[in-house]
């Protein structure tokens, strides 16, 4: 007689376990775009607007609603720089890195802002206040260097001007 062993573990979970998120808000977004063809980008934008990011757990919900696979939705999310899989800092500062702004000193400005915030491009300050990101052209090339703070375009940016604005929105 063989030694008594416990049966093999229960079948694998159908989807990995991700942190909880607001499924109702996602459902509302999905419903809003249900009848639009090619609706994935608008859906992701709206979810990000509502939740601040696209939670990994929502990928399955989106995929089911769109009759697509999680892989496809994941592929789309990771292709586009705009979509976040984790929440950003309380404020998002984007510094333009493109040529026109380079011609007006954006490399220097970027270095100064990195020093000011104590984080590099693509990172969030330790206190979670500001996420600093590169952006490649805001169409504000006639007023370089340009930046965007929480969606607001800024022109002829200087370190001093940014510091004032960051203070105003409550950095830290």
């Amino acid at each position: 007689m063989k030694e008594a062993v416990l049966p093999k573990p229960l079948r694998r979970p159908e989807a990995p376990q991700y942190p909880a998120y607001d499924t109702a808000q996602v459902a509302a977004v999905l419903a809003r775009w249900a009848d639009t063809s090619g609706n994935l980008l608008p859906i992701l934008h709206d979810i990000q607007r509502a939740l601040g990011h696209v939670p990994p757990g929502a990928v399955g919900q989106i995929a089911r609603a769109l009759n697509r696979s999680r892989a496809e939705v994941h592929g789309v999310i990771t292709f586009y720089h705009d979509f976040r899989q984790a929440p950003a800092g309380r404020h998002v500062l984007k510094l333009c890195q493109a040529e026109s702004c380079q011609a007006m000193g954006s490399r220097q400005l970027t270095a100064e802002v990195e020093a000011l915030l104590g984080c590099r491009l693509g990172e969030t300050t330790a206190d979670g206040a500001v996420t600093l990101e590169p952006v490649y052209c805001l169409g504000n090339c006639a007023c370089s260097p340009a930046a965007m703070l929480d969606g607001r375009v800024l022109g002829r940016v200087t370190r001093a001007k940014l510091e004032r604005l960051l203070d105003a929105v409550g950095r830290g």
């Binding site: 090619g38 769109l66 496809e72 789309v76 586009y80 026109s100 380079q102 007006m104 052209c137």
Partner: protein, 519 residues
């Protein structure tokens, strides 16, 4: 009641136009002045933004750049009556920068209220669409063919010929897809159209739809342009309400509607096939051609894919006739081109001119030289994939052929000016860095080549076996140019090669021979 125009263009907003408008309103109330603040858009004279224009019997008098703090002073100086002030620039239409232009597509820029249909019609709007609807669709196509209009997005393919292909295709549905993913640094003309005169784009789309048998349109706008997106949405609602968009336009039996689609931070989606993939809700991966989008485009259906400025140029062609439009320009570069001056330039702004204006005229006469006041050292024409020129090439005329002869391109008409502090090796490296960041990753020359090119440049700059790495860089650039799937990989070498050609010293390389400079 004095009409005071304050732009709502995003460049103006980035410099405080909202605060200026609010300050004027507050100051007017405080002073009991009868003022109507109207939010127009920008004329494209950005060094003057925020440019406040006061409507007077003598025309609009401009003041700029205005800061909110300047407003009490302006009132005090009687600006409502066109009074003298340090910021005063006189009658706006007489500013040489503007006066010397040939504004067809941008005729209404900064003049009208962007989403006022009354204003639009009062300034010649909808005449093109009215005329088109009175013609046979095929005749509309031929009118556009005859105008010589070529795509203003970069590829410069004749717009009318593209329409012909779509019109001839048999399909259950057809689409118009507007490429408003203007991602080239140094360009902003699409943004100006969408923010400043969204109706002209939508009118152009409807004409394209009528001419080709398409019933639905998409405007694919990059997410970096929130104001353009808002203006388009607003304009669409206005047109629908007025019966100019929808199931049956003005009782013509022709139905056309459109929606705005927002990109998500991907330069490559400015490539037409990647844009179609993105509209369909997929990764913005480049498709191979053929099939052309005109045969098999959006959702597999024939699709007109045009750039914003191209379509915005259509209403005037239909309104004034192909001949009128074709009379501008020369050779195979017909009509006008909106040129955008950017970077280190004193008078940055939009110059709409017939083809043939030289770089020197643009940079020196319009632009007024560098903003820093230092000597001009380099120009990049046509966006991040465009070649860098040194000052010896300033007398080149800006037309498709002349630039092509010097391995450059008109592209989207952007010119970025650099002064003598520029490190051209860093710029060359950046071109490849940009390509690496924005590559869709489909084809190998672009996906791996852009990273390897950066590494080679780094080695050259570190002086590691520079001649061999230089030679390898040239070989790699050749492979990228000849073997890439689309223009991103295919043209990313251009800025690098041109920087090597004109500024070899910046790489620590010996001066190029004269032969190497001549292409």
């Amino acid at each position: 009641m004095v009409k005071v125009c304050v732009p709502r263009d995003s460049s103006a907003l980035s410099l405080g136009a909202d605060e200026v408008a609010a300050a004027i309103a507050v100051e007017a109330v405080r002073r009991g002045a009868a003022v109507r603040v109207v939010r127009t858009s920008s004329r494209g004279l950005f060094w003057l933004e925020p440019l406040v224009e006061v409507e007077t019997p003598a025309g609009r008098i401009g003041f700029g750049p205005v800061d909110a703090a300047d407003v009490p002073g302006l009132f005090a100086a009687g600006f409502l009556g066109g009074g003298e002030h340090a910021l005063g620039v006189g009658p706006v239409a007489e500013i040489p920068f503007l006066k010397r232009q040939e504004r067809l597509t941008f005729a209404r820029a900064g003049v009208t209220e962007p989403t006022s249909l009354v204003d639009y019609e009062a300034h010649g709007g909808l005449r093109g669409l009215r005329r088109a609807l009175s013609m046979a669709p095929a005749a509309v196509v031929e009118e556009v063919v005859a105008s010589g209009l070529r795509g203003r997005g970069g590829a410069a393919f004749p717009t009318g010929i593209k329409w012909r292909t779509v019109a001839a295709a048999e399909a259950p549905r057809k689409y118009v897809a507007v490429n408003a993913d203007e991602g080239d640094s140094g360009t902003y003309s699409d943004r100006m159209v969408m923010e400043g005169d969204p109706f002209v784009l939508l009118e152009g789309m409807a004409i394209a739809g009528y001419a080709t048998g398409a019933s639905h349109g998409y405007v694919y706008v990059r997410s970096e342009y929130p104001h353009a997106i808002a203006a388009l949405e607003e304009a669409l609602a206005v047109l629908r309400a007025a019966g100019w968009y929808g199931a049956d336009i003005q009782g013509s039996g022709f139905g056309f509607d459109a929606e705005v689609r927002v990109g998500a931070g991907a330069y490559i989606c400015g490539e037409e096939t990647a844009m179609l993939e993105s509209i369909e809700g997929r990764r913005g991966m480049v498709r191979f051609k053929p099939p052309l989008p005109a045969i098999k485009g959006l959702f597999g259906m024939p699709t007109v894919v045009n750039n914003v400025v191209s379509l915005a140029s259509v209403p005037v062609i239909l309104d004034r006739g192909a001949r009128f439009y074709a009379d501008f320009g020369l050779g195979s570069s017909r009509g006008t081109l909106p040129i955008q001056l950017a970077g280190n330039v004193r008078r940055a702004g939009l110059v709409e001119k017939a083809f043939g204006v030289t770089l020197r005229e643009l940079v020196e006469e319009y632009g007024g030289g560098t903003r820093s006041g230092r000597p001009l050292r380099a120009l990049q024409v046509g966006g991040p994939l465009g070649a860098y020129f040194d000052s010896s090439l300033l007398d080149l005329p800006l037309d498709y052929e002349a630039l092509a002869r010097h391995r450059g391109m008109v592209g989207h008409g952007g010119i970025v000016v650099f002064d003598d502090t520029v490190d051209m090796a860093a710029q060359a490296r950046y071109a490849m860095e940009f390509c690496a960041v924005e590559s869709c990753g489909k084809c190998t020359p672009c996906r791996i080549g852009s990273t390897r090119a950066q590494e080679l440049i780094d080695r050259i700059l570190r002086g590691e076996d520079a001649p061999a790495n230089h030679a390898q860089l040239l070989k790699l650039c050749d492979v990228m140019e000849s073997a890439s799937l689309c223009a991103l990989g295919g043209m990313a070498p251009w800025p690098v090669l041109s920087a090597l050609r004109y500024f070899p010293g910046d790489f620590g390389l010996p001066p190029a021979t004269e032969a190497a400079r001549v292409v």
